[in-house]
């Protein structure tokens, strides 16, 4: 029995020894951003749409705050949320309109990836999966579909397997108390339980992580305030020590 542990340990060491470089993507969230200092050292994901599912309706708008960068964003991020003040109807018309809005606001010049950021409660998972399915159907074939995910979804929940996306991005910040064991696990060299969550991850400037899986996976970088060069270089420096 103990040999199995030894084998596993050796396997982990072998897998962990050759770390392919990760591609960094800076998130330009809904605030003024000047990312010219990033240059081509990282890609940029631009929040280009903001959608609220309210009752049986859809409220949708584009980005309100300017982004300055050299080059173009490679990812268009559309944030979706449910209006908690009204019971969600999720009618066919609403569902159709929501997907169309995501697709419309996801059309950002230069972006070959559309990312949906939509946090849902347990009872609302069907809504998320419906939306992703509809968006996938309307997405051009040369465009990839990505979704953000609570880190906990990648650990204990299997419904994520039904998500028709090319990329799942577990967010390793603001995890609350439940996130601490996961953080400890990752820092100790572990990985997400769900293999679909092992191609990308997201970290924040204010949630330090002593270690996280690398191996060439895409890493999204979050700053709770408008990015500054010190925030960016500080985070990159910490990540270099993983």
């Amino acid at each position: 029995m103990w040999a199995r542990g030894v084998f596993l340990l050796c396997a982990m060491v072998m897998l962990g020894s050759a770390r392919a470089p990760s591609r960094m993507i800076v998130w330009a969230w809904e605030r003024p951003e000047d990312l010219r200092f990033v240059g081509d050292a990282a890609d940029v994901a631009l929040q280009s749409g903001f959608i609220v599912l309210s009752g049986d309706g859809v409220q949708a708008r584009g980005r309100r705050f300017p982004l300055r960068m050299s080059g173009r964003p490679t990812t268009a991020l559309v944030h979706v949320q449910i209006d908690r003040g009204r019971p969600l109807a999720w009618t066919p018309d609403q569902r159709r309109e929501a997907a169309q809005a995501v697709l419309a606001f996801g059309q950002v010049a230069g972006a070959d990836r559309l990312q949906v950021d939509f946090e849902v409660k347990r009872s609302e998972r069907r809504v998320l999966l419906d939306l992703l399915s509809d968006v996938r159907r309307g997405l051009p074939k040369n465009k990839r579909l990505s979704m953000t995910a609570l880190a906990s979804w990648c650990e204990t929940e299997t419904w994520l397997d039904a998500a028709p996306v090319d990329e799942i991005v577990p967010m390793l910040f603001r995890m609350g108390p439940d996130g601490r064991p996961l953080k400890a696990k990752l820092e100790a060299g572990g990985d997400f339980a769900n293999p679909r969550c092992r191609t990308a991850l997201a970290v924040s400037t204010d949630a330090p992580l002593a270690h996280a899986p690398g191996d060439g996976r895409r890493v999204y970088l979050f700053d709770p305030r408008s990015w500054t060069k010190p925030d960016y270089t500080g985070l990159r420096k910490r990540m270099a020590q993983w």
Partner: protein, 805 residues
């Protein structure tokens, strides 16, 4: 159709204004920082808010949004606010995307009407935003336009037949109009041959609307003006108004004298139009839209007069918003804005390229405070305006040269003055350390006896009172605080009808950890103030144990005290304390009653130590300080959260003697936002009473005498605590010679007592410890090997198919 309802006249003003430097709140995915829970810079729950709007001014809090601080300014100057005005100022104004706007029910109304007439099922999405500069989007078409179009279509279909060629041509043209909402290259389809007159006049209107949406404002204005003169057009009455709107939009975009002149002319024509002309009542608001750009200084003067009016106006929020936007750009900041920004004393932002050293960061922060203090003091001396005294007091430290004069003036403030409570808070803050505690107690007891304190202010004064407590019981009475805003929800559950607190309007997502309140998780209403946590963490073991047995303290908080004290007692190998706490914990943590009972029942020596260490292996959140600790919660031991630390028992003093820096206790409040917090921000510069929300002046923590007497003992005890937790960029500390690791000792005991029925489970937990952070010399791997070699058929071995160490 173009028609759009302007709900508030000046909202158009705010909506058309777009500044690159606008700093809206961040839309983080997921929750943001935990917010302070017993101090609320958003003035608390509904009852406290109403009292505030009504004139009950408490302690002014610098970190709230500017419109809310403007309420304080008004109250300090005897100007009424009232519920209606207070509510609009306490809500993000004008273009905050979090608000439920009137953008719903727009295009879908048009789509349904169109499909009903055409018989088609065309549900193509109509994008209503047009591209702006720097990857922004600007809302171009509003719901009213779609509603109006749907109503017009229904009318035309009813009159002329839904299948008629003319109605179909109308629909095609209107679709092109709405295409222009997003795509300026959209064009009307070619006109049908032999258009009936009604279609021709409608088409003229559609052409004008399309030009407006496509951004060709001058063309749109000319077309609308022509419509205004066309006696046959059913749109005639709206022609002058829409022409004026188009020219105002053009003027705002290009900002040239000729564009302004054209806009003024169009507005003058509208003002002179017959009473039936649409939009005449909008002329003043549209003039303001132009004035904002054309004559910002003059317009700012006008806004200032409006704000200075004694009676509040329902449009105050948008007036204040424009006042703020113009005031920031003005050469001389208007006074209310100057006061608010001085109070906040925000350090100047670094440029995106600028890198900062620790010393530079500290200096930058301190310089901003001193600059603001000098300015506030100068303004107060020049004006004798109480608002400036309040600001200066909030900024000053006890050692600043301005402080004696400010304290003298503060002492002369009568209790009837609106800023009295704020002044009292700062008087006490500045003198607490040197004033005899009995005198401070008298002053604070008199304040706390008032029945008109907000929950937040009562907590702040209680924090000051706790620091001059006369006894442990007295300390407990004031160290426990009442939660201000009810239980935080995630995701954000703001509901206009049921919201607990205004803070949720400002896009704050709150996650509070467990172990703060007297409930489970983030539930509960009572908790320790941050000042109290720091005082308790600095107390000797005996005082902590006494507190953990105080019946006035809620059980969950006593559990926290008992467990952190237990951790200390184990490191000190204080058998009496260990036994006593183990006995208490049988009741406080019944799910582990047997484990605690085993400690009491164990023979002194290796048996007892084994039992003590088993508890450490099963509760990951135990630490020696409350600031690092996490309460065990859940129906099973396996539900307990947190990663483990390594427990090292020293034979002689050798650990660090300094307690955690005070800035760590201020983490949830307003503080030094940088990477350099721990160990850099001096204790004397912190504010655990109000968590930095009340002002930039420091509130050095005062340890009550009842605890101060044990300071030397506490320091001696702390020298026996060896922590292996370390910063990411630092190596793990090496234990001194003779130190014993708890996990090592468990393994030694396990090997020596193979028949002990506790061993398999204990080894299981050691593997867990190794998996989640607290391993010592691969203790997890060693435990795994021992478990599987000696107890392969046990359920514990079966539950542990692998290790990760």
């Amino acid at each position: 159709m173009v028609r759009r309802i302007m709900h508030k006249a000046v909202r158009v003003l705010a909506l058309t204004i777009f500044l690159f430097g606008l700093t809206g709140r961040a839309y983080a995915s997921g929750p943001s920082y935990p917010e302070p829970w017993y101090v609320d810079q958003y003035e608390g729950d509904h009852a406290d808010l109403l009292a505030w709007f009504d004139g009950r001014l408490g302690i002014v809090k610098r970190t709230a949004p500017r419109p809310m601080r403007y309420i304080d300014w008004r109250l300090l100057h005897g100007q009424a606010v009232g519920e209606a005005t207070g509510n609009v100022l306490a809500t993000p104004c004008c273009n905050n995307p979090t608000l439920t706007t009137d953008y719903s029910g727009g295009s879908d109304v048009w789509i349904k009407a169109r499909n009903a007439v055409t018989g088609l099922n065309d549900t193509s999405y109509i994008q209503t935003d047009r591209p702006g500069p720097d990857d922004t989007s600007v809302t171009n078409c509003f719901p009213d336009a779609f509603h109006s179009a749907a109503a017009t279509l229904n009318d035309r279909a009813a009159r002329y037949g839904p299948k008629s060629a003319a109605v179909q041509a109308w629909i095609a043209a209107q679709s092109a109009v709405f295409q222009a909402c997003h795509d300026p290259s959209s064009e009307l389809p070619p006109p049908m041959a032999k258009m009936p007159p009604w279609l021709a006049t409608d088409r003229d209107y559609q052409a004008a609307a399309l030009a407006l949406y496509a951004g060709r404002n001058d063309e749109a204005a000319a077309r609308f003006a022509a419509i205004a003169k066309d006696t046959h057009s059913p749109w005639r009455d709206s022609g002058l108004y829409l022409a004026a709107r188009a020219l105002v939009r053009q003027a705002v975009m290009v900002k040239t004298p000729s564009a302004y002149a054209k806009a003024h002319a169009a507005l003058a024509a509208l003002a002179a139009a017959p009473a039936s002309a649409m939009g005449r009542d909008r002329v003043p608001a549209l003039n303001e839209v132009v004035a904002f750009r054309e004559d910002p200084r003059g317009f700012l003067t006008k806004l200032t007069r409006q704000l200075d009016a004694a009676a509040p106006s329902p449009h105050l929020a948008s007036v204040f918003r424009d006042y703020t936007d113009l005031g920031e750009a003005a050469t001389a900041k208007p006074e209310a804005l100057d006061w608010i920004d001085t109070l906040r004393a925000a350090p100047p932002a670094l440029s995106p390229d600028e890198q900062e050293t620790k010393d530079h960061a500290l200096a930058r922060y301190e310089t901003s405070r001193r600059t603001a203090l000098a300015h506030a003091t100068q303004r107060w001396r020049a004006s004798h305006d109480a608002a400036w005294l309040v600001a200066a007091l909030s900024l000053t430290d006890a050692t600043d040269e301005q402080t004696p004069a400010l304290l003298t003036a503060a002492g002369a403030t009568p209790p009837s003055a609106p800023g009295w409570l704020s002044v009292q808070h700062d008087i006490i803050r500045l003198t607490l350390i040197r004033t005899p505690p009995a005198a401070s107690r008298r002053r604070l007891d008199a304040i706390l006896a008032r029945t008109d304190l907000s929950v937040s202010d009562r907590n702040i004064f209680a924090a000051q009172r706790a620091q001059v407590a006369a006894s442990l019981d007295d300390f407990v009475r004031f160290a426990l605080r009442r939660r201000v805003c009810g239980e935080a929800g995630y995701p954000n559950t703001w509901d206009a009808t049921t919201e607990a607190c205004v803070r949720e309007r400002w896009d704050i997502d709150q996650i509070q950890s467990s172990g703060i309140y007297d409930g489970v998780g983030d539930k509960g209403a009572i908790g320790w103030g941050e000042d109290a946590l720091a005082i308790i963490d600095r107390a000797p073991l005996a005082d902590r144990i006494a507190l953990s047995r105080n019946p006035a303290i809620p059980a969950k908080l006593r559990l926290d005290l008992a467990l952190t004290s237990y951790g200390r007692a184990v490191l000190l190998q204080d058998t009496a304390a260990i036994n006593g706490l183990a006995h208490d914990l049988e009741t406080l943590l019944p799910i582990m009653a047997k484990d605690f009972h085993d400690i009491e029942a164990a023979r002194p020596g290796a048996d007892k130590r084994f039992a003590e260490f088993v508890v450490l292996a099963k509760i990951p959140g135990i630490r020696t300080d409350l600031i690092d600790y996490e309460r065990p919660e859940g129906a099973h031991v396996a539900d307990f959260q947190r990663y483990w630390t390594d427990w090292i028992i020293l034979k002689r003093p050798g650990g660090p003697t300094a307690p955690p820096p005070l800035i760590r206790y201020q983490a949830d409040g307003a503080n030094f936002q940088s990477d350099f917090q721990d160990g850099v921000w001096p204790d004397a510069a912190t504010d655990l009473t109000c968590l930095g929300e009340c002002g930039r002046g420091a509130a050095p923590l005062r340890t009550p005498e009842v605890f101060a007497a044990g300071a030397a003992k506490a320091a001696a005890e702390r020298a026996m605590f060896f922590k292996t937790d370390h910063a990411d960029d630092k190596p793990e500390p090496t234990p001194p010679p003779g130190a014993v690791d708890a996990w090592d000792e468990i393994l030694t005991y396990a090997r020596a007592h193979p028949a002990d029925p506790r061993i398999p489970e204990t080894l299981y937990w050691l593997v867990h410890v190794g998996h989640f952070g607290g391993s010592h010399n691969h203790s997890g791997k060693r435990a795994f090997e021992l478990l599987h070699s000696r107890y392969p058929e046990s359920i514990w071995a079966k539950k542990t198919p692998y290790y990760n160490d």
